[in-house]
C-alpha cells in the first residue's frame, strides 16, 4: 500500500474533519517538533528525530485532574475527566513508538491511571522508519531497530524517489484507519530508501550484562559512579526529553479560593525530588540521582515492569549541556 506525500493534505483535512487531532513533525522555533498541524504543508520530513517525543500526547507535561472551589468551610471538589481526543500521531520515530509500551506498563501496574490509558486508546501511531540518523542514535544497542514496529499501528517507509511512503498496517486499529481514509491510500508497492543503522557504541554494549551488574546492590559502592556522574549538575533535561520517563508531581495551582490540582512532569534529577520534610534526603547527591536514572532505565523497568526503560532515541545525549553520555555508562557497565 502506498501513501503519496501529495495526498497527505487530503489525509490531514479528512482527519481534522473527523474531529481528531493530527500531530506531526513540524518546524517550530527553529527545530522540528511533534506538534498539532492543520495542513500538510506544515509537516516537515527533514528531521532525524523530533526535539520532543510523542509522549506528551499521551502523558501531557501538565494536566488538571481536579478543580477545587473553596468558600469558608465549603469545599467543592470536582474531578476533571482527562481530555482525550482522537489523535493521529504521524511521523513518530519507531523508537518513540516503542516507548509507549513502557509508559503503559508503569501507568497500568496494579492501579490504572486512566488519564494515560484513555489517551493511548484514542491515539493511532503512524511511525516512519529511519532513513537517516545522527551520532546520538543508539536504538540497535537496546535491542530495537530503526524500523522496529513495536508500538506502531501503521509503519511508513519512504520510497526511493522520496515522493511517497510504503505503508504497512500492523494492528486492527491501523487497518481500520486505512479503511476509514481509504481514498488517500493507494494499492501497490515501491522500492524504499535504505534504512539508517546507528553506529555501535564504542566499546560495545551488552544489555544482559548491564542488567546482571545492576541487579547486585553492591554496585552502589562502585567508585566508578562518582566518576561517571561527576559532570551532571541536575538540570533534568534528559528526563524531560525522554520518551519513557514517567515521573510526575501533584500540585495545587491557584489560591485559597479557587485552585486546580495538577499532575505535572517531574524529574528524578532535581535535588529536592526525594527530599523528606525532616531534611533527610535519600538521594542527596547528584551521583545518587544520576545512578537512580540509570537504574530505572536498565534495571527497574526491565525487572519490575518487564518493558524497556531505554529505547535508544538519544535525546538525553543530544540535550545534555555537559555532554554526559548515557552510552558511555552503558559501555562501562557492559564490562
Amino acid at each position: 500500500m502506498i501513501l503519496s506525500k501529495e495526498k497527505l493534505g487530503a489525509l490531514v483535512e479528512q482527519v481534522k474533519i473527523s474531529g481528531a487531532l493530527f500531530a506531526a513533525p513540524a518546524v517550530d522555533g527553529g527545530q522540528v517538533v511533534m506538534k498539532s498541524v492543520n495542513v500538510a504543508d506544515e509537516i516537515s520530513f527533514d528531521y532525524v528525530i523530533t526535539a520532543n517525543s510523542a509522549k506528551e500526547y499521551l502523558f501531557p507535561q501538565t494536566e488538571t485532574i481536579a478543580v477545587v472551589e473553596i468558600e469558608k468551610n465549603k469545599v467543592k471538589l470536582s474531578a476533571v475527566e482527562p481530555d482525550a481526543p482522537e489523535t493521529v500521531l504521524f511521523g513518530v520515530r519507531p523508537c518513540d513508538a516503542a516507548a509507549f509500551a513502557s509508559l503503559r506498563s508503569v501507568f497500568t501496574w496494579d492501579f490504572i491511571d486512566e488519564s494515560y490509558t484513555k489517551r493511548e486508546d484514542k491515539s493511532i501511531v503512524l511511525s516512519v522508519a529511519c532513513t537517516k540518523g545522527d551520532e546520538g542514535c543508539f536504538c540497535t544497542s537496546v535491542g530495537l531497530k530503526p524500523d522496529t514496529t513495536d508500538g506502531s499501528d501503521l509503519q511508513l517507509k519512504e520510497t526511493t524517489d522520496g515522493g511517497s511512503f510504503v505503508v504497512e498496517a500492523l494492528t486492527d486499529k491501523g487497518k481500520e484507519f486505512v479503511k476509514k481514509f481509504s481514498d488517500v491510500f493507494d494499492d501497490g508497492s515501491a522500492d524504499t530508501k535504505a534504512i539508517f543503522t546507528p553506529d555501535e557504541i564504542p566499546g560495545g554494549v551488552d544489555i544482559e550484562k548491564i542488567k546482571e551488574r545492576l541487579a547486585d546492590p553492591a554496585h552502589y559502592a562502585d567508585p566508578v559512579w562518582p566518576e561517571l556522574a561527576r559532570k551532571c549538575f541536575g538540570c533534568g533535561a534528559c528526563t524531560f526529553s525522554c520518551p519513557t520517563c514517567h515521573c510526575f508531581d501533584i500540585t495545587d495551582e491557584g489560591d485559597v479560593f479557587s485552585t486546580e490540582r495538577k499532575k505535572n512532569w517531574d524529574a528524578c534529577q532535581i535535588d529536592n525530588f526525594t527530599l523528606h520534610a525532616s531534611g533527610h534526603n535519600p538521594r542527596d547527591t547528584q551521583t545518587k540521582r544520576w545512578r537512580n536514572r540509570f537504574m530505572c532505565k536498565f534495571h527497574i523497568y526491565p525487572k519490575k515492569f518487564t518493558t524497556k526503560g531505554c529505547v535508544g532515541c538519544g535525546r538525553c545525549v543530544r540535550v545534555c549541556p555537559v555532554r554526559l553520555d548515557i552510552t558511555e555508562v552503558m559501555a562501562e557497565f557492559s564490562k
Binding site: D113, P217, I250, D252, S278, P282, I300
Partner: protein
C-alpha cells in the same frame, strides 16, 4: 478509575497540639457511607490535602480498632503541612488512601511486643500500639521505648501518661541529653542506649522501630546485641511520595517501590535493599 488521584473530603473533628509545630487531626469523611465502609490496616498511609497548597503523605496514626474516624499527626515543615497546620476544627481537607502494605499483626498473636520510636516516628508505631492495647489479651509483654530531642518534643503526651500508669505496659520515655526539664521523671539518653539498658527479651518477641534513619540504624544493632534476629524486627520506610500508587517515581529504594511493596518491611528485607535511604 479516573479518580485515581482524587481525594475524598474529610472534616477536621478535633485538633491536638502535640508538640511545637506538631499537630494531630481527627478526621471524619463527609460521605456518611464512607465513614462505615472505610477500612485500613496498621502501618498503611494516606495522602492529605490542604486545598490550594497540595498533598502530603503520612501514616494513619489511629488504629483500625477505632471506628468512624482516622487520625493523622504531622509536623508543620513545608508548604502543605504549614497550610494543614493553619486549619482548625470544622474545616475541610482531603484524604486519599489507604495505600501500601501493613504490619502483619494477625501473625503476632501471642507474642511480646517492643515498640521503639523517636520523635515524630511515634505516629505509625502508635497505630500498632493502639491495636495491641485494644486486643491486649492477644499479646504478651508490651514494652514501649520512646524518645525525643526534648520534653516539649514528645508527641501524644496524654497517651504517654496513660501508658505510664498502666501496669501491663513497660513504657520507657527518654529525651536527648540537654533536652530534660527540672521535673522530668523519664530517662536522659538516646533511644538506642536506653533500649539496650531496658534489654527486653528477644524470646517470642516482635520489635517495631520508627524514627530518624540514624536512630533506626543504631537500634538495629542494639536489637542485634539483645539477640533479636532480622525476622523479628519491623520498620516502616516513610519516603517522600506524590502519588501513593506506584507511578510518580520518587519513593523507590533501588527497585522497590515503597508505596506499593511497603512501607512496612522486616529488618531482613531492609538489609537486602539497595543502599538508597
Amino acid at each position: 478509575m479516573s479518580d485515581l488521584y482524587i481525594p475524598k473530603l474529610v472534616r477536621i473533628e478535633d485538633v491536638v497540639e502535640e508538640a511545637p509545630d506538631v499537630k494531630s487531626f481527627r478526621l471524619v469523611f463527609q460521605d456518611e457511607e464512607l465513614r462505615d465502609s472505610f477500612k485500613f490496616e496498621t502501618g498503611q498511609f494516606g495522602l492529605y490535602s490542604a486545598f490550594g497548597y497540595g498533598e502530603s503523605t503520612f501514616c494513619i496514626a489511629s488504629s483500625p480498632t477505632q471506628k468512624g474516624f482516622i487520625q493523622c499527626t504531622f509536623r508543620a515543615s513545608g508548604r502543605v503541612t504549614n497550610a494543614l497546620s493553619a486549619l482548625s476544627i470544622g474545616d475541610t481537607m482531603g484524604f486519599r488512601g489507604p495505600y501500601g502494605n501493613s504490619f502483619p499483626v494477625e501473625e503476632w498473636k501471642g507474642k511480646n511486643m517492643v515498640f521503639i520510636a523517636g520523635g515524630i516516628g511515634l505516629p505509625p508505631v502508635r497505630s500498632v500500639i493502639r491495636y495491641a492495647l485494644d486486643r491486649r489479651e492477644d499479646f504478651g509483654d508490651i514494652t514501649i521505648v520512646y524518645g525525643s530531642k526534648s520534653v516539649a518534643d514528645l508527641v501524644y503526651k496524654n497517651e504517654l501518661a496513660h501508658w505510664d500508669e498502666r501496669a501491663d505496659i513497660n513504657c520507657i520515655q527518654t529525651v536527648d541529653p540537654g533536652g530534660e526539664t527540672e521535673d522530668w521523671k523519664g530517662k536522659v539518653g538516646f533511644v538506642p542506649t536506653v533500649l539496650e539498658e531496658a534489654a527486653p527479651s528477644a524470646d517470642n518477641t516482635i520489635a517495631i522501630i520508627c524514627g530518624p534513619p540514624i536512630m533506626i540504624k543504631f537500634c538495629l544493632s542494639a536489637l542485634d546485641k539483645l539477640g533479636f534476629n532480622d525476622e523479628q524486627v519491623y520498620t516502616t520506610l516513610e519516603n517522600k511520595m506524590k502519588c501513593g500508587v506506584g507511578k510518580c517515581g520518587r519513593c523507590n529504594v533501588g527497585d522497590i517501590y515503597v508505596c506499593k511493596e511497603g512501607p512496612v518491611y522486616s529488618a531482613a528485607e531492609v538489609k537486602k535493599m539497595y543502599d538508597d535511604f
